[in-house]
Symmetry: C2
DNA sequence: GAGATATCGTTAGCACAGCTAACGATCTCG
DNA sequence: CGAGATCGTTAGCTGTGCTAACGATATCTC
């Protein structure tokens, strides 16, 4: 797959290979964790949208759709589902009555926190197995991971 | 997001917080990269299933369904879609004629490689911005990430 | 060997998620 | 005020997920 200098095992930190490995690991992680979401009784898109509303605070439907990379009609139905379940509510905006603001209810916050805890608990248990040294190294890695992400998103969406 | 000791930047590497940060970063990464998949003309489940077949080699439909955490009827339709697109083919198994083997076609391999390249290219560009030192540290982090994943999957599925 | 049982993949039928097109309501600007 | 833009919804299509039920084939038991 990736060429190696003959006789040399330590990798020269090839950006391409590293990106690929990181990509694969992320896929693998989320795929494994996905199973835990069944317990919440919420589908993946609803859970994801709810998390944006809970962590990001009230948001208009259109912005929420863009954040979730989904078209407005799709978000309309996701929100309708969440509203029926009592997890969010639609609130009119006085200044501009075309807009609809989506807010999380107390129940929505509770449900999301529980689901997130379930997911992260699994991962946490495995992280706990690392020694102090490895923990610090992984921490540094995650920090760099986030830096890379930031530069990626900064470079990507010029507009739209 | 994470609290910091006042005046001290390096954190004490709390496993819970670390797991949460890693989880969030993975979500963020895949969400950002997802956009690139539109160009392949394949939906996410088809792309994912195809990737398993291409990288893992021929596999029975049932095993593929379990790998993708999906029920057999769902996988039947995903495979049917891929087959219609000429990306995989169903092959009978002589030993046990209940089984159906799914194999990637040459076109399937090409399409997947192209899609993956598109996704990883974006990430690679940002990884390239790192210095040698950071590159090595991120590499170590990814390695530990994979270790954690391995211990997670090892601990999780006792049977089924 | 013959019948009971198990396994594999498919079909049928339901709910949800994604899209485009079209529309009503509202805001903004000339 | 009227023309155009923007926001959210409705209508109608495809694809993805499920359970239930079924036909074909293997395997186990007597």
């Amino acid at each position: 797959m990736t060429r190696r200098a003959p006789g040399k095992i330590a990798k020269k930190a090839d950006p391409k290979a590293l990106a690929d490995a990181l990509h694969s690991a992320a896929i693998h992680l989320l795929r494994t964790l996905r199973k835990e979401d069944d317990a919440s009784g919420l589908s993946a898109p609803r859970l994801s949208a709810l998390s944006v509303v809970v962590f990001g605070g009230p948001i208009t439907l259109g912005r929420l759709a863009r954040t979730e990379q989904v078209r407005p009609p799709t978000m309309t139905r996701i929100v309708t589902g969440l509203e029926r379940a009592g997890l969010v509510k639609r609130v009119g905006v006085a200044d501009d009555r075309r807009l609809t603001r989506i807010e999380a209810t107390a129940k929505g916050q509770r449900v999301l926190a529980a689901g997130r805890a379930r997911r992260v608990a699994l991962l946490t248990e495995s992280v706990r197995l690392l020694g102090d040294r490895e923990l610090a190294e992984l921490g540094r890695g995650v920090q760099l991971f986030n830096d890379v992400l930031a530069s990626m998103t900064a470079r990507l969406p010029p507009g739209k």
